[in-house]
Symmetry: C2
Subunit: 551 residues, 2 copies
C-alpha cells in the first residue's frame, strides 16, 4: 500500500470545492467515486474514506490561514438529492482494524477542528442539508453550529449504523447528539433505530437540526443565514491571508526530514526519534514582519511539520510503538518566539498559530504510541516545546553533562505557554492535569518561569519522571525501551489513553476516551466484522447472522 499523505492543496482536491461569496465560504462536498485511497471500493453518494477527510481537514485549515475575510463557512453537497452517505461501508469492511481506528480518530480530529474554528477563529460553520445526511454525514453536520434542513419531504438526517451496520453511529456522533445537541435520550434511542431517519418539523422538534427551510427559499435562506452568522465574527477587516506553502519535506525509508523537524526510525527497536529544532532566526521586528514570513515563520513551520510527522507515523508506521521526543537549540529563542506570539495575541494570524499549536499538541495526546521525552544537553525544552515533556507518558532527564561535552547541563525552561494557551481535550493545561493531586505544585512551577531548571530541581518540582547520570543513561534507557517494546501494544494503548486524561471530562474526551473505545470494541466483534457480520455482508443482499448473546 502506498503511504498515506495528509498534505494536499485545493488544486489537487478531488472531492471538495471551495466557493467564495464575500465573507462567506461554501465548502462543497462532491466526492469523486473513483478518487478514494483504494480502487477496491467506489465512493458513491458522497460517501467518504480518508482521502475525503484529508481534503476537508486541509480546507478547514486553509480557510483559517489563507482567508481572514471568511467569517462563516457553509458545508453543503455538490450532488443532487444526497448530502452525504457517511463513511464508505465497503472501505470499512475491507480495512484493517488499525486503519479503521486511525481513520475514525482523524475524522474526529477534523470535526473538532470545525468546532475549534467556530469557537476560536471567528469562522462560524453552518451546514445546509439538501438530501440525506446519513451516519458520518450527519456527524459532519453535528460539528457545525447551525444545521439547516430543506423541507422537501425527502431530505432527512439519520444515524442508521445500528440497524444497518451493527456498529456505533458515527464515531463521535452519539456524543454530539446527547452532549452537544442534548437530544432527549429516549428520542436519541428511537432516532438511532430508524434507518430512514427523521425529517421535517420533527427533526427540529427533536433538536436534530436547527432550522427547516422550504425548498423554494433554500439557497436564499442559506445565504442570508450565513451572512448573519458572519456578522458575529471578530475577524479583521482588510487583512491579507498567508499561503500555506508546500512543506519542505524529504521522506526516506527510515527518516523524515523537514526544515525544523527530523524523524529517525529504528525498526529493530520499534521506535522513532522525533527531534524538533528551535528557531535559528531572531524574532521578527514586528507583527507585519511575521506576516511577511508566512509559512516560514518558525512557530507555524514547526507546528505544520510536527503535525505531518505525527500523522505519518500514525498512518504508515503501525509497528513503531515508541516515540522519543527530543529538541535541539536555544531555549531562550523558543521563549522569545512564545512571547512574541502571546504579546501579539490581538493579531488574527498570531492567534491562529497559537490555536494551531494547541491542536497539534492535542494530536500528540491522542496518538496511540508510547511517548518518552528525552531531555539532554543541547535541548531546548522551553515554553511551547516544554509541552512535549508534559504530553509524554514519561520524561527522562540527564543529570549534569556528558564527558567531553562542553555544553551546559540539560535544563527545562518554563514559560507562560505552559500555563494556559494550550489546554488539553479535558480543558486543563498539561501541567494542571499532571499536578491534579498536588495543585500547589503548579504554583511552584509558575515561579520558575524563565529560569533554567536542571535535572535535580526538575525532579523535585515534579516536572520529570526520571533523572540519570551520564554513566547510567544508556543502560537505563535501553532497559526501559526494551521493556516497553515487550508489552502488549493493546494494553499500552488502552493504559495510556486512560492515564493521559485525569480529571474533568469534556465532549472531546468523551469522544476519544469513551465512544472510540466502544467503537473499537465493536470493530473487533464478529457481529460486525466476522464473515457473517453486518459490515462484511453490507450490500451483498445477504442478511448478517448475529450471535445474540448480550455482553
Amino acid at each position: 500500500m502506498t503511504a498515506i499523505d495528509v498534505q494536499t492543496d485545493p488544486a489537487r482536491y478531488r472531492h471538495w470545492r471551495i466557493e467564495f461569496d464575500g465573507d462567506v465560504a461554501y465548502l462543497v462536498m462532491d466526492v469523486d467515486p473513483k478518487g478514494g485511497l483504494s480502487d477496491q471500493y467506489e465512493l458513491k453518494l458522497n460517501s467518504y474514506d480518508l482521502s475525503v477527510d484529508i481534503e476537508l481537514s486541509d480546507a478547514i485549515q486553509r480557510l483559517r490561514f489563507e482567508h481572514p475575510e471568511v467569517r462563516a463557512v457553509v458545508i453543503k453537497s455538490g450532488k443532487d438529492n444526497v448530502f452525504c452517505a457517511g463513511a464508505n461501508i465497503r472501505m470499512l469492511g475491507k480495512a484493517t482494524h488499525g486503519h479503521k481506528v486511525n481513520f475514525c480518530k482523524f475524522t474526529n480530529e477534523t470535526r473538532l477542528a470545525i468546532e475549534d474554528a467556530t469557537e476560536y477563529s471567528g469562522q462560524f460553520y453552518l451546514c445546509a442539508i439538501n438530501g440525506n445526511a446519513a451516519g458520518g454525514g450527519y456527524e459532519l453536520a453535528l460539528a457545525t453550529e447551525h444545521i439547516m434542513l430543506v423541507d422537501d419531504r425527502r431530505s432527512a438526517v439519520t444515524l442508521p449504523e445500528t440497524p444497518l451496520l451493527a456498529v456505533l453511529p458515527g464515531t463521535g456522533g452519539l456524543t454530539r447528539v446527547t452532549d452537544k445537541r442534548k437530544v432527549r435520550r429516549d428520542r436519541a434511542d428511537v432516532f438511532c433505530s430508524i434507518e430512514e431517519g427523521i425529517r421535517g418539523a420533527k427533526a427540529v422538534e427533536w433538536r436534530l437540526v436547527d432550522e427547516l427551510v422550504p425548498n423554494s427559499k433554500w439557497a436564499e435562506k442559506v445565504s442570508t443565514r450565513a451572512h448573519e452568522f458572519a456578522r458575529r465574527s471578530d475577524r479583521p477587516q482588510d487583512a491579507a491571508g498567508i499561503t500555506l506553502t508546500p512543506l519542505e519535506r524529504r521522506i526516506e525509508n527510515d527518516r523524515l526530514s523537514y526544515s525544523h523537524v527530523d524523524v529517525v526510525i529504528d525498526r529493530s527497536r520499534a521506535l522513532a526519534s522525533i527531534t524538533l529544532h528551535g528557531p535559528t532566526q531572531p524574532i521578527p521586528k514586528s507583527v507585519a514582519a511575521a506576516h511577511a514570513l508566512g509559512a516560514t515563520f518558525w512557530p507555524l513551520a514547526v507546528a505544520r511539520e510536527l503535525e505531518d510527522a505525527i500523522l505519518h507515523l500514525r498512518f504508515n508506521e503501525p509497528k513503531i510503538g515508541v516515540l522519543l521526543l527530543r529538541t535541539e537549540g536555544d531555549a531562550q529563542a523558543v521563549l522569545d518566539y512564545d512571547n512574541f506570539l502571546l504579546q501579539a495575541n490581538g493579531d488574527w494570524l498570531m492567534r491562529e498559530i497559537r490555536h494551531y499549536l494547541k491542536r497539534v499538541l492535542k494530536r500528540i495526546d491522542v496518538t496511540a504510541k508510547s511517548l518518552i521525552a528525552l531531555i539532554e544537553p543541547g535541548s531546548c525544552f522551553a515554553g511551547t516545546l516544554a509541552e512535549l515533556i508534559f504530553a509524554a507518558d514519561r520524561s527522562v532527564m540527564l543529570i549534569g553533562a556528558r564527558e567531553g561535552d562542553n555544553r551546559p547541563p540539560a535544563a527545562i525552561v518554563l514559560g507562560r505557554a505552559n500555563f494556559g494557551p494550550y489546554p488539553m481535550g479535558n480543558g486543563l493545561t498539561r501541567l494542571a492535569t499532571r499536578f491534579i493531586g498536588e495543585p500547589e505544585a503548579i504554583g511552584r512551577a509558575e515561579q520558575k518561569i524563565g529560569a533554567p531548571v536542571e535535572a535535580k530541581e526538575a525532579a523535585e518540582l515534579g516536572l520529570v519522571t526520571l533523572t540519570f547520570e551520564s554513566f547510567d543513561w544508556d543502560d537505563e534507557l535501553r532497559i526501559m525501551l526494551e521493556e516497553r517494546a515487550s508489552f502488549s501494544p493493546d494494553a499500552l494503548t488502552a493504559m495510556e489513553a486512560n492515564l493521559r486524561f485525569a480529571g474533568p471530562e469534556t465532549m472531546e474526551t468523551k469522544i476519544f476516551g469513551r465512544l472510540s473505545a466502544w467503537q473499537n470494541w465493536i470493530f473487533q466483534r464478529p457481529n460486525a466484522i466476522g464473515e457473517q457480520g453486518a459490515l462484511k455482508l453490507y450490500g451483498s443482499g445477504i442478511q448478517p447472522t448475529f450471535d445474540k448473546d448480550r455482553v
Copy 2:
C-alpha cells in the same frame, strides 16, 4: 453450567470472615482455593472469581443493615504474606467474553458499594495491606478511604496487568489511580509497568497508599486507625440491626417469582418481562414499626428482589436482550411509602433503604439489555417506581383504557423521589439527565408532583417516548420488539451505554463508560485472548507472542 446465584449469607461464606471489635469490623479475606465457581481453576494466593466477590458484596450489604454499631470496616487478608493476588488469571483465561464483562461489572459495583458505604452510611472503609496487593487486589484497596501498608521490605502494591497479562490494570483501577488518588500520570505509567510493584516510603510519596506502618506495630496501629475513623461516623448509638433474611424466591425455567417481583421470560422473542408489585399493606404506623418489619418492609423487599432479578438476568440469561419493565398496584400506596422513607430520613435504616434503592436503580442503568417501560392501566409508576420509566431506553404508554377494562387510564405520578434521592452515576437525577437540553422541563414536571399524568399530558411533558391507543398497542409493540431483536446485540450495548449517560462524567461513569469499554476491547484482542495471547498462556511458562501493531 449451574446458574450463578448472588444470594448468600455469612454461614455459607467460603472466602471471607467478618470479625467484630466494638465499632470496628474486620472483613478478612481468606479465599478457599477450591471454593470457586468452577473446578477448572484454583483460587490460590487470595485470587478471586465471582464467588469471592458475591460474598464480599453480601458482607458489605449486611454490615450496613445488620450492624448499625459498625462504624469502620477494615479489609485485610487472612493469609500470611499475601494480601490478594487479584482476579484469578486461569478463570479469566477460560471465561467467555460475556462472563468476563459481567464479572468486571459486578466487581466494579461492589467496589462502588464500598465507597457508597463510606460516603453515605457512616461506615468508613480502611485497607490493611500485609503482603502483596496485586491487580484487582490493589483495586480493592483503592476502593477504601485509607490504605495502610506494612513496612516489611516485601509487601507492595502493584498493578502488573500490562507487563504480565496484556490487559488493563484492574477494571476500575486506573481511574481510581488517576482520579481518586490523583497519582501523577507519569508515575502511574511507571507504576503500571513494574511487575513487582512499589513498596515502602515510595508508595506513600507516590500517593499509592496513605500510611506505612512498621511490622512491629502493625495490628495495634491498624486497630487505632480504624477506631479513629469510627469516631467520625454519624451512625446511631444502641440501634439494633435488622436481618436480611433469605429471599422469598422461586426460580423456574422461564419464570422468577418473588413476593413483590415477577419475571417472565419469553425465549422466542428474547425478552423478559419484569413486573414490580406495589405495596399491599398500608405504611407502618411508626419508624419503629417499620424496623420491626425488617426485610419484609416493602421498599427494602422490592429493592432486594429487583436487584436479584436483574443480576440473575445478567449472569444467567445472556440471550435475553430486552427487559420490559412493568408495575402493578396502587400508585398512591407507592407514594405513601416514598414519603414515609423521605420523612424518616434521619433514621439510619430508612437512610440505608433509600441509598440501597439508589444502588439498585444504578445497576439497572448499567445493565446491558434494552430497557423498555410499559405504562398501562393498573400500573403504579409513581415516585420511586416511576424511576424505572426514566431508567428505560424507551417508555411506551397506553392512551385511555382497553375495551372491557374498567380500570382508569394509565397514569404516571411523580413524587419527590424523582427529584433528588436517586442520582445516577453521573451525579444527576434521571429526569435531569433526560431533560439536559431543556432544563425548564424539570420545573414543569416538578409542578405535577402527586398528580396523575395520563398519556397525552405525559407525552407533552416529555415523560414518555411513545403513546399508543389500545387498538394500535399490540401491533406497535410487536414491531418495536421484533425490530430491537433484529439488531446486533453489540451495537445496542454500546449505543445504550452511550445514550444513557449524557452530561457530566464522574469517576463512576468513567469506570463504566470509558475504562470498561477499553477493557472489553482488550478482552477481544488476540494479544490477550488468542491462542498465543498472554491470558491464555499465563502460568504455562511459554511467552506470549504479540502482534506488535499499534492500534
